[in-house]
Amino acid sequence: MKTVFHTQDGLIHAVNGVSFHLDEGELLAVVGESGSGKSVAMMSLLQLLPIPPAEIASGRVAFEGQDLVRLSASGIRQVRGARIGFIFQDPMTSLNPVFTVGFQIMEPLRTHLGMSRRQARKRAAELLELVGIPGAAARLNDYPHQFSGGMRQRVMIAIALACDPKVLIADEPTTALDVTVQAQILELVKDLRQRLGMAIIWITHDLGVAAGIADRIIVMYGGQIVEHARIGELFENPRHPYTRALLDSLPGRHKANEKLRSIGGQPPLLTREPDFCPFSARCSHVHDRCRAENPPLERVSESHDVACWWDKERRAISGGQLPESVHAR
């Protein structure tokens, strides 16, 4: 997947050659800093970006034997909200203040599943109950402003789940919430996964959240996937300099009174042709090759991929087998 934006100041390479797969029933976390392309990548998948300024320069999204990128407008609408539920943190997809909560849950049920009003109403009440809203049936006639932030987020989840999707894409669904409310939502998601068995893509910038719920994790930087691994493997054996520095900068990983290890510098502007490593300006292992050539994402062990020249050399030196000392950070 490659997505660019045409702007007055030229091209912005927002998503640059991102490839991944999602297994049935698994939870894939996507982390990365602001502007690294997490949202644009997921919105490209579902044709949710305005074209122009956006352009999907290349890419393919295989889902149930179809290529989602090539689907017609009506074709993608059949998939969106029905086979793939999504919760995006942009106003376009959040709750509409002038309609009741019940109406907004019932709408996809009626358009996608062709339910009658009565059926849809019954199902909407069930869904609200499923996401843990007390007195669900009685609250269908309430407007969004009568709900707290945490409850509105639960309603968003209920809408996304309405048509029993195979896949749920959730873009920072708990970022704006308090930790105690976030904890409620995370438990809810764990519970729903067990009961409904859907696959989930969960975008977050909180490594703690990812650690708690994900099976696998993708780390994005500057519009690219720089590392991908099973969740335990990534935390135990991070390989990309960005991932390593990110984990190192977390306060929990420091001894008392120790200074936080910070990553100097700033994230890259995405205006330059991506023919160099996006992390090179801030990397402590940078060398000439990093500035001249963009490292490809390469498999280093079973379901662990890294895009880094330094790591590649490290692997070559140790003949593919890493001595223990290299792991120790």
């Binding site: 800093e33 904890a183 910038h205 990812a210 929990g252 009174n257 910070s262 700033q266």
Partner: protein, 338 residues
């Protein structure tokens, strides 16, 4: 729980004297309704806080959105006239003094805001933003001022040659540094940091936190550090105060609070913080709170936490718990804690 992870912390130098003393602080905002705009009630944003801030320490202030953290910070700085209670700063009553003495006191207390974007005037150059407090308080002549601005920029790790640039030319972390430089301009003793890193990327947060700590050591600053990021508070604070619905529920040394939280709300809050370690997360038990934060204009009778407290007994629904002292300089407001 998060608590066990690192409880061994070398003894920090314990500052002894009180810099800011808060006594029975209340801040109620009136609620008006109807065409006649009649007062129908009041949001009890802050309702009777008493605590001290020691010279040279960082006091963390945590709690859920809307519990009154920012209001507390602003009332301490005298930006609001409190509904009741007193704030003493270096022995002077902030609310009572006026005129010349207030003008002398004001510069000693500063604030750093959450959103560096919104708190900097986009039409002013960085140099004039940082110089603004110097001009306002008529400190130094123009030439000295320019030198001082360069020194301040340097102090926060910005290139002094950037004085003529505008805020939009900087990144989020750099803009937060500009805000810090401005807060430092008048040589304050005390800074209220209101969510200073909330708007920043994880990789940039560490830069700003390190800077705040550096400056504290070099300049002997005292911080009230408001944040909802408990792991960062644990890192930076000496003591931590926990608020719930306008009340302080617990105050303790950072290690004591994280390893042995006494208030049921503190326990729930700590257990909700995600830990960036899949092994710990795998078998962690969370205390899940039921329901939502009650309305601050109409708080529950008895203990304010009683409607959601997993441990509440009959007394809690009836009698408000006292803000009382426990061993080791801790304070708590819960009938059951000991």
């Amino acid at each position: 729980m998060l608590a066990e992870a690192n409880t061994m912390r070398p003894e920090r130098a314990r500052p002894a004297d009180t810099l800011v003393s808060i006594e029975g602080l209340k801040m109620h905002f009136p609620v008006y309704k109807g065409v006649l705009r009649r007062k129908v009630g009041a949001v009890q944003a802050v309702d009777g806080l008493s605590f001290d801030i020691m010279r040279g320490e960082t006091l963390g202030l945590v709690g859920e959105s809307g519990c009154g953290k920012s209001t507390t910070g602003r009332a301490i700085l005298g930006l609001y006239r409190p509904t009741a209670g007193k704030v003493h700063f270096g022995g002077e009553d902030v609310a009572a003094i006026e005129g010349e003495r207030l003008r002398r006191l004001r510069p000693k207390m500063q604030m750093i805001f959450q959103d560096p974007q919104a708190s900097l005037n986009p039409r002013m150059t960085v140099g004039s933003i940082v110089a603004e407090p110097l001009v306002e308080h008529q400190v130094a002549k123009a030439g000295e001022r320019r030198a001082r601005v360069r020194e301040l920029l340097d102090q926060v790790g910005l290139n002094p040659d950037y004085v003529n640039r505008y805020p939009h030319e900087f990144s989020g972390g750099q803009r937060q540094r500009i805000g810090i430089a401005r807060a430092l301009a008048l040589d304050p003793d005390f800074i209220v940091c209101d969510e200073p890193i909330a708007a920043l990327d994880v990789s940039i947060q560490a830069q700003v936190v390190n800077l705040l700590q550096d400056l504290q050591h070099r300049l002997g600053l005292t911080y009230l550090f408001i944040s909802h990021d408990l792991s960062m508070v644990r890192h930076i604070a000496d003591r931590v105060a926990v608020m719930y619905l306008g009340k302080m529920v617990e105050l303790a040394d950072v290690d004591a609070l994280f390893s042995k939280p006494k208030h049921p709300y503190t326990r729930a809050l700590l257990s909700a913080v995600p830990v960036p370690d899949p092994k710990i997360e795998a078998d962690r038990r969370r205390i899940l709170l039921k329901g939502d934060l009650p309305d601050a204009a109409n708080p529950p009778k008895g203990c304010r936490f009683c409607t959601r407290c997993p441990e509440a007994v009959a007394q809690c629904f009836d009698v408000e718990p006292e803000w009382r002292d426990l061993e080791g300089g801790r304070k708590v407001a819960c009938h059951l804690a000991n």
